[in-house]
Amino acid sequence: MDFRFDIIAEYAPFFLKGVLLTIGLSIIAIIVGSILGLVIGLGKISSKQLVRLPFEWYINFFRGTPLFVQILLVHFGLMPMLFPQPNPIISASVSLSLNAAAYIAEIFRAGIQSIDRGQMEAARSLGMTHVQAMSYIILPQALKRMIPPFGNEFIVLIKDSSLAAIIAAPELMYWGRAAQGQYYRVWEPYLTVALIYLVLTLSLSKLLHYLERRYSAK
């Protein structure tokens, strides 16, 4: 079997552009997802059932349906209602962020609930409000425990952002498909793309491992 390195060489600049978008999409999703996820996670542990309900269903929906379907719904359903010309990059950012928010909300919820009840009680007994107790006592401790699942979510996002290729957001997978379509070759583009994803996820997991050790030492 011959392996045409020239295809890879030709597409190298596109793969590079694609990788940057893949990383960009993942970073946007993790940031927006964290902000939304904190709100949703806090909402889900509210003592009032009426407050809890919409957040629970947000999480149910985004964790219980395929991301693939969500991307299509956002790009072809939601976005055309807001913009005349939907931009695939925006659609991909939005759907990845909404999806990540659901998973991150659960990470926040689990992190917060893993903190001993006595911590909240001690804070409240000193006259702190619920918000003060959360921000000075509970969240700082919960965040430390959230580093490993948070890292996993980031890795999942890097891989899942490849689904954005289906709406022609020009991230890494999109260029892999483009090369495959142009030359009718499978191994060269897809193995290259797979290898790049692997480098991304492995180096991220190394970095997280380092952070985890550093912060748990304190």
């Binding site: 009680e121 000193l126 702190m128």
Partner: protein, 240 residues
């Protein structure tokens, strides 16, 4: 200072407090004793509304806890609490544990809070521990820091929820000594404990609870030397 009238509390069908009436005066040290499950901790936790109650009235320092218009956080500023499991904040140094609430809640300057914290650490005999983290403290040291943390808010009342029950026996004394000193300085205290020696020596009044009721109360000498109720007698015969 504290006036409790017909206090009732239940978890679902289980009634744990069946109508308590207690009146605690300023500077009084009241020790609550009784078997496990008698409701004594629940009673204590109702006094700063860590547990909500179903019926009755609690008035602390002029605040009626069931009044919708009061800010419970304002009441808690005046009511310090010490827990069985210390509940120090593990991500902060001892000094930060003590200064946090005065700075964030009382809005003191960091300067003032720090000075107060160091004074209190001297008082509980831990001035050299200001900059360590709680996990390097022994149980007795941790509980003394927890007492200092509560005192830093300059509360009018201190509640102690079995403060020595989680300690190794040889550390009980150092915590009780701090509490005794506090009592002698005139702090109003409500102490739930199994330390009968402390109750007898430091308490102005002892309340014996069982099954959600106050069975008997009186001066420590009356309760310990001359209990009237059968239930009190049988409890004391087992613990003394």
């Amino acid at each position: 200072m504290i006036k409790v009238t017909n206090l009732k509390k239940s978890y679902g069908d289980l009634e744990v407090l069946k109508g308590l009436d207690v009146h605690i005066k300023e500077r009084e040290v009241v020790v609550v004793i009784g078997p496990s499950g008698s409701g004594k901790s629940t009673f204590l936790r109702c006094l700063n509304l860590l547990e909500d109650f179903n019926e009755g009235e609690v008035i602390i320092d002029g605040f009626n806890l069931k009044d919708k218009n009061i800010d419970i956080n304002k009441v808690r500023e005046e009511v310090g609490m010490v827990f069985q499991r210390f509940n120090l904040f593990p991500h902060m140094t001892v000094l930060d544990n003590i200064t946090l609430a005065p700075v964030k809640v009382r809005k003191w300057s960091m300067e003032k809070a720090k000075q107060k914290a160091l004074e209190l650490l001297v008082k509980v005999g831990l001035q050299d521990k200001a900059h360590v983290y709680p996990d390097s403290l022994s149980g007795g040291q941790a509980q003394r820091v927890a007492i200092a943390r509560a005192l830093a808010m300059e509360p009018k009342v201190m509640l102690f929820d079995e403060p020595t029950s989680a300690l190794d026996p040889e550390m009980v004394g150092e915590v009780l000594a701090v509490m005794k000193q506090l009592a002698q300085e005139g702090m109003t205290m409500v102490v739930v404990t199994h330390e009968m020696g402390f109750a007898r020596e430091v308490g102005d009044r002892v309340i014996f609870m069982d099954g959600g009721y106050i069975i008997e109360e009186g001066k420590p000498s009356e309760i310990f030397d001359n209990p009237k109720h059968e239930r009190t007698k049988s409890f004391l015969s087992k613990v003394l």
